[in-house]
C-alpha cells in the first residue's frame, strides 16, 4: 500500500449499532403520515401528563352539549359541559398508555416464550405450545372480568389483563419465525464457528426477527387500543371517572341523538390512532419485504 497514512476509521465504530427504528426516509408517504399522527399523540400524551387539564374534569352545566365550534368550544362539550377536546386529551394517558403497556407486556412475554419454544428440546417446546394453546382458548373477556373483580378497575389491572390475554399470539408468530431463521445457513455457519446457542439466539436470530417484531408491535398496539375501549365501554375497564376513550364512548351512549359529537370525538380519536399504527405496521412490513428481497 502507499506510504501515506490514511487515518483508519476508529475500529469500534465498525461494530454494528443497534438500530431499532428503520432509517429516516425509508418509508412511503402513508407510513410517514402514520408516524406523524403517532408522534402528535405521543407529544400530547406527555403534555397532559405534565400539565393535567382541569377543564377535562370540571364543567359548567349551563354550557352542556355545545356543538363543535359553537361559542368558542373547539370540539363541543358533553352532558356536564366539560370540553370534549380536553377530555379526549386527558384520556390519552389512559387509552394510549394502557394499549402501549399491554402491547409491551404481550410482545415481551410472547417473544420470550416463542424463542424458548423454538430453541428448546422437545419437552419444553411442547409445554410452551400447550400453554399457548390453553391461553388462546381461554375467553379473554372472562379473564378480564375475573381480574377486574379481583384487583379492581385501574390502569395496571387492565394493562396486565390485556397483555396476558394477547401474548400467545405473539408467541406463535415469533416461534414460527425463529424456527425458520434457525434453519438458515448463517446460523449453521455460526455454529460451525463454535458460537454457543444462546449467543446465536441473541446475535443472529433476534436481529433477524426485528422487522417481524416491529410490525407485530404496531398491530398489537392497535388491537390493544380497541380492546381497552371495548372493556371500558362495557364498564370493566378503567375507573368510571377516568376520561378514557372507552369510558367517553360509554357515557355518550345515552345522548347519542342530542349530542352525537360526544360519541364522534372519542371514536375519531380511536380510529385515528388505530389507522396510524396500522399504516406504520404496513410500511415496516413492506420495507422489510423489499429489503429481504434485495438481500437474496
Amino acid at each position: 500500500m502507499t506510504a501515506q497514512t490514511e487515518s483508519p476509521a476508529p475500529v469500534r465504530s465498525l461494530l454494528p449499532r443497534l438500530r431499532i427504528w428503520p432509517r429516516a426516509g425509508s418509508g412511503n408517504g402513508m407510513t410517514i403520515v402514520g408516524m406523524v399522527i403517532v408522534l402528535c399523540f405521543a407529544i400530547a400524551t406527555i403534555g397532559v401528563l405534565i400539565w393535567p387539564p382541569a377543564e377535562a374534569y370540571t364543567g359548567n352545566l349551563m354550557e352542556r352539549w355545545k356543538a363543535p365550534l359553537e361559542d368558542g368550544s373547539v370540539l363541543g362539550t358533553d352532558q356536564l359541559g366539560r370540553s370534549l377536546l380536553w377530555r379526549v386529551a386527558a384520556g390519552m394517558p389512559w387509552s394510549l398508555g394502557i394499549a402501549f403497556t399491554a402491547a409491551v407486556i404481550a410482545m415481551t412475554l410472547g417473544t420470550a416464550a416463542g424463542l424458548l419454544a423454538a430453541w428448546s428440546p422437545g419437552p419444553i417446546r411442547r409445554i410452551v405450545q400447550h400453554l399457548v394453546d390453553t391461553v388462546i382458548a381461554f375467553p379473554s373477556l372472562v379473564l378480564a372480568v375475573t381480574v377486574i373483580a379481583l384487583l379492581g378497575r385501574g390502569f395496571w389491572p387492565l394493562a396486565a389483563t390485556l397483555g396476558l390475554a394477547t401474548w400467545p399470539i405473539a408467541a406463535r408468530v415469533v416461534y414460527a419465525e425463529a424456527m425458520s431463521i434457525s434453519k438458515r445457513d448463517y446460523v449453521m455457519a455460526a455454529r460451525l464457528a463454535g458460537v454457543g446457542s444462546t449467543t446465536i439466539l441473541i446475535t443472529h436470530v433476534l436481529p433477524a426477527l426485528r422487522p417481524t417484531l416491529l410490525v407485530m408491535f404496531a398491530f398489537t398496539f392497535a388491537d390493544m387500543l380497541i380492546a381497552e375501549s371495548a372493556l371500558s365501554f362495557l364498564g370493566i375497564g378503567v375507573p368510571l371517572t377516568a376520561p378514557s376513550w372507552g369510558n367517553m364512548l360509554s357515557e355518550s351512549r345515552e345522548y347519542l341523538v342530542e349530542a352525537p359529537q360526544q360519541m364522534l370525538v372519542p371514536a375519531t380519536a380511536i380510529v385515528l390512532a388505530v389507522v396510524a399504527f396500522n399504516l406504520i405496521g404496513d410500511g415496516v412490513a413492506a420495507k422489510a419485504r423489499s429489503r429481504s428481497r434485495a438481500v437474496e
Binding site: V11, L15, A193, R210, V295
Partner: protein, 329 residues
Amino acid sequence: MADTALLQIEDLKIGFPARDGGEVTIVDGVSLSVNHGEIVGLVGESGSGKSMLALASMGLVPRPGRITAGSVKLLGEETVGLPDRRMQDLRGGTIGMVFQDPMTGLNPVRTIGSLLSESVRRHQRVSRDRALEIAEAALTSVGIPAAHERLSVYPHQLSGGLRQRAMIALALVNDPAVIIADEPTTALDTTIQAQILDLLRAKLVAAGGILITHDLGVAAEICDRLAVIYHGRLVETGPTADLLAAPRHPYTEGLLRAIPRFDRHRPRLVPIPGQPPAPSMDRGACSFRPRCDYAMDACAKAPALTPDGAGRSVACWAPIGAPVLERRA
C-alpha cells in the same frame, strides 16, 4: 502414517430414526484420517453421506440423527460424546469448516467484521479492538483487498467471490489445525472457482484438511489423497494421481467416464446407469451392484474396504485391473 493424525475418523456410523421405528444408516463404517499438511478429497454424489461426515467431524450431526458407532479424534482427543461446551471450543478453534453457499452462509444483517470478531472472541481472550484487528488480518490473508474498510461492510455489498473468501476467513480466523471445506466452489463462477481453489489449497496445506466435492476435477487439482464415498461407505481410497489414472472401483471408473474432457478425444460421455441408492437401501449386498457393469454373483455380499499394501484401498470383489479371471462372468 503418522502416529497422531490431525483428524482421525474410525469406523464411524451415523443413523437417523426411520419412520418404521428402525434406524437408517447414512454413514456406515467410514474410516478416514488427515495428517498435517495433507489435503484429503472426499468425493461422492449428492446424498452419499459426505456432508454428514463433515458435520460429524464438527460434532454437529443434525437432530434427530446421531453417531451410532465409531470415533472421531481431533488432535488425538475423542470428540464423540464430548460435552457441548468443550465441542464448541474445538469448533471454529481447532477445526474450521468452510460452508457451501456464500450467498446464504453470512448473516445479512451483520457486518463482516462483527461476524469474524464474534468467532475470534469466542475462542481467544482478546479485546474487541484486537479481535477486529485479527479479523482484518484474516480478511487480508484470504486476499480481500481493502480489508479494513470491508470490516464494516454487509455481506450483500460483496461479490460472490469475495463472500466466499469472507467465509473462508471466517473458518480460518482462529487458525484451526484442521479445515473442512464442503463444496466450497459449487456456487461460484468458473473463473472465481479457480481463484478460490488456489486460495484453499494454500490454506489447507498449511494445516490439514478435507475437501468435500462431487467434482473430480476440483479434487484432482488440489487433493493429495482421495476417498470415494458411495451410499455412506468408502469404496475406494488412494493417492489422487494413482486413483484417477487407474481407478479400481467400477464406481470411480464410472465417475471418471462421466467427466467431459478436452485434452483427449472422447466420442461421448458415459453416464452411470440407474439412480443413486436411497439411504435406506439394504446394505447386505454391494450397494453399487445394480448399476455396475461388472456385477457378478459374489456381489450379493458387500465387500470390505481392503488395502493393497501400497497406499490404496478398494471395496470390490473384482477390482478393475486386478488379476481376476472370472471378473466379467
